[in-house]
């Protein structure tokens, strides 16, 4: 898979239900540096809506989202 946004880290949150994709993303970003990029993989359709809201309310930047079959890839840049 091409890694469109040159992610520094990939978080595989597939199989997890709300609110776990947001929780795992928050915990993963904790260990990263500002400006670094995380790629979150999820197959929870609600994450398409929830993770952008999460990013907005935590101030982290949503770079993009793409779908690859059932997998949704969400790219966030740590604030």
């Amino acid at each position: 898979m091409t890694n469109q946004f040159a992610a520094d880290r990939t978080l595989d949150a597939r199989g997890l239900c709300c609110p776990m994709p947001s929780v795992k993303t928050a915990l993963a970003l904790e260990q990263m540096e500002p400006g670094q990029i995380i790629e979150v993989l999820t197959d929870d359709p609600v994450s398409k809506r929830d993770l952008p809201v999460w990013a907005q309310s935590t101030g982290n930047e949503l770079l993009g989202m793409e779908e690859d079959g059932k997998t949704i890839k969400i790219y966030l840049k740590k604030a």
């Binding site: 239900c17 709300c18 609110p19 947001s22 929870d44 359709p45 609600v46 994450s47 809506r49 929830d50 993770l51 809201v53 999460w54 907005q56 309310s57």
Partner: protein, 164 residues
Amino acid sequence: MDSALQKKGSVTIVLFSGEMDKALAAFVIATAAASMGMAVNIFFTFWGLNAIKKEGGLIKGRNWMQKMLNAMNYGHAKKLALSKLNMLGAGPAMLKAMMAQKRVPSLHEFIKTASAMGVKFYPFEMSMSLMGLKKEDFLDECQDVIGAVTYLSIAKETGINLFI
């Protein structure tokens, strides 16, 4: 409603319970708030999802546990139990008769009224997927299926937060 009346605060309700009396209490508050021009959002989760299920064809679910849960948890706006004095189903019938006598709207009418007044209904994702329910199983009045983060982003801007 949104444009004509000034917005005066907001109410966000999580309807967790599946009993008719609790759903009615939620909708009395919701419609009164909407009449005052308040922004009202109701999030339906767990048993509360029954209030916005379509009638009929409810034995959904892709596995036997979900099928069993939905069969036993059969319910929709016209067929919910009471939280007290349910009396094997006689209680809801009595309450409905009393409501009709007093011209209290039925839950079904409340849902229609609330929706017409701009109250937003959101099914919660996690409990839907636990129960094997899909967006199509819910009334057309419902908005998108949402998750806890979206709920919180709305609730934190809200004056009155209730969990019913």
